[in-house]
């Protein structure tokens, strides 16, 4: 599974949204209905899935689906 697919899969599961809602430009808070706790859970799930640590400062910049995909790719390569 590619990084992109895995990220999307985690978002679908954690935010309880349908796959077609998870477009690259979708904002977690405005488009996917996430609150601050959801974002923390999402970050923790990414950390676990990709075996990395995301600092609070970095996490704050992750606002859209694309932000996360780009971020994870930059960290784990692909």
């Amino acid at each position: 599974m590619s990084v992109e697919e895995k990220v999307i899969e985690i978002i679908v599961e954690k935010l309880n949204v349908s796959r077609d809602q998870v477009k690259p430009e979708a904002s977690f808070i405005d488009d996917l209905g996430a609150d601050s706790l959801d974002l923390v859970e999402l970050v923790m799930a990414m950390e676990e899935a990709f075996g990395m640590e995301i600092s609070d400062e970095e996490a704050e910049k992750l606002r859209t689906v694309k932000d996360v995909i780009d971020y994870v790719k930059s960290k784990v390569g692909e």
Binding site: D35, L37, E41
Partner: protein, 249 residues
Amino acid sequence: MKLDLAGKVALVTGASRGIGRAIALALAEAGAKVGVNYAASSEAAEEVVSRIKKAGGEALAVRFDVSQAGEVLEGVQKLKETLGPVDILVNNAGITKDTLLLRMKEEDWEAVLAVNLKGAFLCTKAVLQGMMKRRFGRIINISSVIAFSGNVGQTNYAASKAALIGFTKSLAREVASRGITVNAVAPGFIETDMTAKIPEKIKETLVSQIPLGRVGKPEEVSPAVVFLASEAASYITGQVIHVNGGIYM
């Protein structure tokens, strides 16, 4: 009123003796499966477990020092594998190192804060994610009347117990949207090994200040915890229930 806790898993820290023991027994009586945490008194913890089992309940003694993150995680994992994930956490483990501030060593300060306050933080952290996922949780922190009234010789203890109140209210706000309630119970002068250390003369003075005219029993504190853990308390969060015979109002 529905106080039935059947199907729920509870973890009570410091449950081998005193108030924690009474809480563990009461939660089990209400139907919960109970993790009986202890730090040193394994015999006492096993006695609590066997008492619960004899009454037809389920329980497991788990040893860990609440102030050690690694031990806490291991203990919670063991509990999860045996009884299931924790639905009800009672942060009860507490110690005292009483002395006047002028005589208080840094170690006395740190030891009390580590168990009473950091312990609650670590145990909560270990179970919170699971509660969030399941959209249900009850966290009950055992504070003390000393948090509200203060007491000579207990600056460390009072600070730790007052801090638990702020912890309770802040966490209650953080996780309310996930169906998790966080409350505190503040016992007064209760007959336990902890208060047995108090000199007789001071005890007499203390009792004279209690409107109900006597020291409380651990079994008079545990019902408040069972209530907060139950469905009946579903709309109560961020609160403190004082169980103190009226010594502080």
